[in-house]
Symmetry: C2
């Protein structure tokens, strides 16, 4: 496939150039040619950066033991931003790669101060269940709660504290509390413990995350490297763009209008799409003359991230916006239709997935 | 028994009055009348203070579920100061009370930075083995390593971090590092987790410790009280005097001349006793005239803490020193004789105890 749509190319570079420059994140397009059948997040620039993806991919191609791991914070409802992470896991799982999903319940309880029962309930009923409904195979995926792991996992957390200073944590995270410190060390182990010989001895773990998670990964890489006696290997990672909130701000569970939740009713979802901020012009006349601005449009993000997987079809939509031949009203109606169809289908799967999620007995006993 | 020998009474009050006054530690003699057959550490003022011992004792007398727990830091060799802790555990075990011993291996590795293999080796071969040789019943005692516990124990550590601030930890411990913070939270759970319904739901845990350990206990009491949702109960505690180092300083594994180790050869032990700092006077003439000062004498401590269990006999020795009728040379010869006899006997038991300690399979696998 030659077609490349990366409407945010310019902006991405502007926004994230500091990451590239200062922290050594590499542009994902450098490694794209390595991949036979890339996910559309890769071709469309949604996944824009990486560390050591090439190394990970080489090991995978050589049939070495590699795995994918990512974390979900069980706070609030599962939205389309979370879906982006699971979509990537499903992609890798379909390639035959082992997939691990950590439910960051210790952090949700101790740092975010969400009641424990709620954390567990959300963890299973929202996060694990939606992940399964989105296509993760419950038989092949290892889900675990941070508070319900093997004792040796905690041993590693205790052990790595030996060579981490409060100063370096403060330099990364700012002001700290004990809960945050434990949470940070736990995350370091989440993204490295699978490389320990007691936990499978994977040769490389790839962690697909949003760009804001990079500090955790840098710390984990540092710790793994400075603490070779533990036999932990530094994680590889990819970085994806955040979805913009439908209101133009950050997409967040705490502002329901900013996000489409996977459990939204048809009515709610429709309403949110019709209220969403677009890249339309001040008047219809102007828009017909100048064309729309899909690169600034949250509805176009919905299409590009979720609703249209075929690149040709997306290109057609993009062009008809740019040319001013399709205006926002029409475009929103089409998006709402696709979204509703998808949501209905997903919610049917979700009902079953919730039963499966419960049957996995991941639930910590308190 | 009416006889009360507390040669350090005056000094203890001077040294420890701040503890009594500021921190609410109560004098142990207040609760002594409750106990039918007190240990000689209790009658002699070696155990000088407590928190909630009366509450603990009442529950024990009412046949409620109570337990004793203490921690050992596996650093260096086991000396007569460590023996004091185990002696107390043996006393309570003989009363039918459940005994738990935590080997603080996480702290030894991460805070004290002792190599991991050494920590495990010392933990089993020095600490668990000596504890068994000193009389703890390996079938009745629960020994555990901090790094080798039930996942729910770590869950509690993660959970309590929720309500502990860095400020309050700094107020207690001064400057902190992540390793120390994890270690402190682990200790809080060590002295409280047995009161959780998932771990036996003991109604009260008594923790016999040296006075320097009180900050940990105060913190644990605070945390248990402020965090009632976890169902943890504040620990009771007793405080014992430290043995003075034989050279007059602090008794420490890092200054071999300061301590009698339970693995010392006969020759080493003899040598240390003869070199020990006494409460003798400048000349023999002066000592015959003024009498010795057992309250300042490290050899008298050896007698009172370890070598003479019979109070009448100890009183005789004390008097003959005070009256100047027995001088230091003679006194040291007697001490060395008793010590050597005891050490020989102990070291025979220790050989067997080491095998038992190994067979308990407490050893973490890395």
């Amino acid at each position: 496939m030659e077609l490349r749509i990366d409407p945010w190319g310019q902006e991405t570079i502007k926004e994230y150039e500091k990451l590239f420059e200062y922290f050594g994140i590499r542009p994902f397009k450098e490694v794209l040619p390595l991949i036979d059948k890339p996910h559309y997040y890769m071709t469309r620039g949604v996944i824009f950066g990486h560390r050591d993806f090439d190394k990970f991919w080489r090991l995978y191609k050589d049939n070495k033991k590699v795995a994918i791991l990512t974390g979900l914070m069980p706070s609030g409802k599962f939205h389309m931003g979370h879906k982006m992470v699971i979509d990537q896991l499903v992609y890798y799982q379909n390639l035959g790669i082992d997939v691990y999903v950590v439910i960051a319940d210790a952090e949700a309880y101790a740092v975010r101060k969400i009641p424990r029962k709620e954390v567990i309930e959300i963890g299973i009923n929202e996060y694990v269940a939606n992940a399964i409904a989105l296509g993760l195979d419950p038989k092949k995926t290892v889900f675990y709660f941070q508070t319900n792991q093997d004792p040796r996992y905690y041993r590693l957390i205790q052990m790595i504290s030996r060579k981490i200073t409060l100063n370096e944590l403060e330099a990364i995270y700012g002001e700290l509390e004990p809960s945050k410190i434990i949470s940070v060390l736990t995350q370091v182990i989440d993204v490295t413990f699978l490389t320990h010989k007691q936990f499978g001895g994977y040769e490389c773990i790839l962690v697909p995350v949003g760009a804001d998670q990079d500090p955790h990964l840098r710390l984990a890489r540092d710790v793994a490297e400075r603490f070779s006696e533990l036999g932990l290997k530094p994680p590889a990672s990819t970085y994806h763009r955040f979805m913009t909130g439908l209101d133009g701000g950050k997409m967040s569970s705490s502002r329901p209008e900013s996000a489409i939740f996977l459990t939204d009713s048809i009515k709610e979802a429709k309403h949110k799409v019709f209220k969403a901020l677009t890249g339309g012009r001040a008047t219809a006349e102007e828009q017909r003359r100048l064309g729309g601005q899909p690169e600034k449009c949250t509805v176009f993000e919905l299409y590009a991230y979720h609703l249209i997987q075929n690149d040709n079809e997306l290109k057609k939509l993009y062009d008809s916006c740019k040319l001013g031949s399709m205006l926002c009203g029409e475009c929103k109606r089409r998006a709402a239709e696709l979204l509703i169809k998808w949501l209905k289908d997903h919610q049917e799967k979700l009902a079953k997935a919730r039963e499966i999620a419960k049957s996995l007995q991941l639930e910590p006993d308190f």
